[in-house]
């Protein structure tokens, strides 16, 4: 039986009158890469934000490492979040800092490392994503793919137990997409941790996913390995995987 490191339990989430998630449940298996797929605006990114406490559900519970983080005060949550890496869709690097400073920041704020150790660790992390030469560059000097990899480096530099990736390959060419997918797999193995990836890119998901959850109309309607999902009899899943306009998904 696989260990569950994080879990959404019957979560309902609304933005104003709009219901984003409705009784949504999801198990994140420890040591695996779980990918979440679904239509644009289906609530995929909201799931990631629930998992690190950036959003609180209106109903239901979110457990991370056995702790219900829904009722955790912000002061505790701030410290808790440092154990969860988050790679944002557009990297969200701090544009007033160099890449090295961006990657060093979590270490500088949360560890008792000396400046030398911080720089050494940050350089090693950048090297692991193939960006060792960008330590002194500003984010504006990097290409889209490099910025995303720098975002990965910042997310994993503290060796978090879980890394959340929000649409890591969106808007990139197939070669860079392949490179990033490979990087996610390698980082997961290197950290011996868990990854949750939101993506639309099915090729990329098939390459890296241990488990896939498909979200539709606010709930996870299918969950399983890549093969299990490909063989799913659910017409919504099949329509999505085939990218077909014909089927039960309203356009």
């Amino acid at each position: 039986m696989s260990n569950i490191i994080a879990k959404l339990d019957n979560v309902t989430m609304r933005y104003g009158d709009k219901v984003i998630l409705q009784n949504c449940s999801l198990d994140v298996v420890e040591g695996a890469i779980t990918c979440i797929i679904g239509l644009s605006g289906a609530g995929k990114s909201t799931i990631l934000r629930l998992l690190n406490g950036l959003r609180k559900p209106d109903e239901g519970h979110v457990y991370v490492k056995g702790v219900d983080i829904c009722h955790m005060p912000e002061t505790k949550l701030i410290n808790f979040r440092s154990a969860i890496g988050f790679a944002f869709q557009f990297a969200a690097l701090f544009d007033s800092m160099t890449i090295g400073e961006n990657v060093s920041l979590p270490l500088r704020e949360h560890s008792k490392m000396s400046e030398e150790e911080i720089e050494k660790t940050a350089r090693a992390t950048l090297e692991s994503v193939g960006l060792e030469q960008t330590f002194n560059s500003m984010p504006s000097e990097l290409s889209g793919g490099m910025i995303k990899r720098a975002g990965f480096a910042r997310a994993v530099v503290t060796n978090p137990d879980i890394v959340l990736y929000d649409e890591p390959t969106t808007g990139l060419d197939p070669i860079v997409t392949h490179l990033l997918t490979d990087t996610i797999k390698r980082l997961r193995a290197q950290l011996n941790g868990t990854a949750v990836v939101i993506s639309h890119d099915l090729q990329s998901i098939y390459m890296m996913a241990d488990y896939i959850g498909m979200i539709f109309e606010g709930a996870i309607i299918a969950y399983g390995t890549v093969d299990e999902l490909k063989k799913s009899m659910n017409p919504i899943v099949q329509q999505f995987l085939q990218g077909s306009e014909v089927g039960p998904i309203p356009l």
Partner: protein, 259 residues
Amino acid sequence: MKMLEDFGKGTTALIEYAGGVTMLGGETVGFIARARIRLTETLNQAYFLGFQSLIIVLLTSLFTGMVFSLESAQQAVQYGVGNLVGGAVAYTSVRELGPMLSAVVVAGRVGAAICAEIGSMVVTEQIEALQSLGLAPARFLVVPRLLALIIMLPLLTIFADVVSIVGGMWIAQTYAHINPDSFLSSARQTVGFEDVVKGLFKSVIFAIIIVLVGAYQGLGTRGGAAGVGQSTTGAVVISIILIFISNFIMSYMLFGVGH
């Protein structure tokens, strides 16, 4: 009925806004009290927020002092009280115009910059990135800016006071032939050290208003570039209104009846 509903909504929004700014202020003060301060960033902000505002503050104060002197000096000489012009210019500059004009200028420049920077960070997910790295935006962004402006705005006000008086003195001499010694002597007799301190106290309150309103507006930014623009306009307008209101209240309490 609709009017009543709108009034209710407006009142609720106002209370929510005041509560939000107060909570942000409380959180910021909490970090300062626990000495959770980023010193280098505070110094950088002091340079950016203060030093780079110097020229515009000096120019505004110089011309205000000059125009005040221009309006009052000739009239004063006509009524035979030309020896009081220095006092009038200094009195107004130190107690009212220096602190308030500096604050209004800084609100337009610095308040807008703080709001636009933080607002841009919101729309590019940098604020969420901070939070996901376990860093509180109040400590990371607001504390350095607040400390920097609390130090720099009173300094700018001192410069503004001096330049305003010097400008007034020059105009009084040029157009009303008031002797500079007489002007300065009048200024010294009228304005005491206490007045200067009270004026600087006002500057500290204005600095708190500018930073907290700018940061709160920035953190509340929604949408893209248009959202940043709206927040920034709001930050400047709200700061300036609050500066005028608080200036009246402080003037009444510090210099009002019985003072």
